[in-house]
């Protein structure tokens, strides 16, 4: 069960630490994929946005748009940052 899903659009433009909970999940889209996160966070990236920018992100961190929709469906709430 995912708590809040945060969709991040811009590199280095994140909700502040007070807002993030351990069970939250971060999805990087658009230019945010240019700066992948460290492994201590729950995160993944939009596969098409990664491939479009020719960036290397591990396959298991990449989500199709349908994966993203499934995560949105299961989330408690979704915040597009």
């Amino acid at each position: 069960m995912v708590n809040t899903v945060w969709i991040i659009k811009r590199p280095a433009d994140f909700p502040e630490i007070e807002m993030l909970e351990d069970e939250d999940f971060i999805i990087l889209i658009q230019d945010a994929v240019l700066r992948p996160l460290s492994d201590d966070k729950n995160w993944a990236a939009c596969k098409e946005d990664v491939e479009a920018r020719n960036i290397r992100i591990p396959e298991d961190k990449c989500l199709s748009y349908e994966d993203i929709i499934d995560i949105i469906e299961k989330a408690d709430k979704v915040v597009v940052w």
Binding site: T4, E18, E21, K77, V79
Partner: protein, 116 residues
């Protein structure tokens, strides 16, 4: 089909049309939902005595007044105001100044968060 707890989160400065539109949305949504309009980061400039007309933007006073009448809560981030050395204007509705931690709690408790 129930009334929702909604946060309209304003993090951009008000010197383009963005915040004006965000407030219009907040006014509309407050007719149906429990509304919290929360100004954080550069969003807090919105509540100072700035002059929208000088840059071709409509003033916010009517929207703020409508939010007050509709029982929406209007909240400004304490740290953001302090860091920027800003003074809030007197608005036709009550503005609550709140620390980051409490704002984080409010966001956690809400069902819909619309960030601008």
């Amino acid at each position: 089909m129930a009334k929702k707890k909604v946060v309209v989160l304003i993090k951009s400065n008000p010197f383009s049309w963005k915040v004006f539109e965000a407030l219009r949305l907040a006014v509309g949504a407050s007719m149906e939902h429990k509304m919290h309009v929360v100004f954080i980061k550069d969003g807090v400039y919105s509540l100072t005595d700035w002059k929208p007309q000088l840059i071709g933007i409509e003033p916010f006073d009517k929207s703020i007044e409508a939010l007050g009448m509709m029982g929406a809560e209007i909240i400004a981030e304490e740290e953001a105001i302090r860091e920027r050395g800003l003074i809030l204007k007197k608005w036709p509705a009550e503005i609550k100044v709140m620390p980051k931690d409490d704002i984080a709690e409010l966001i956690k408790d809400s069902e819909v968060v619309l960030s601008w």
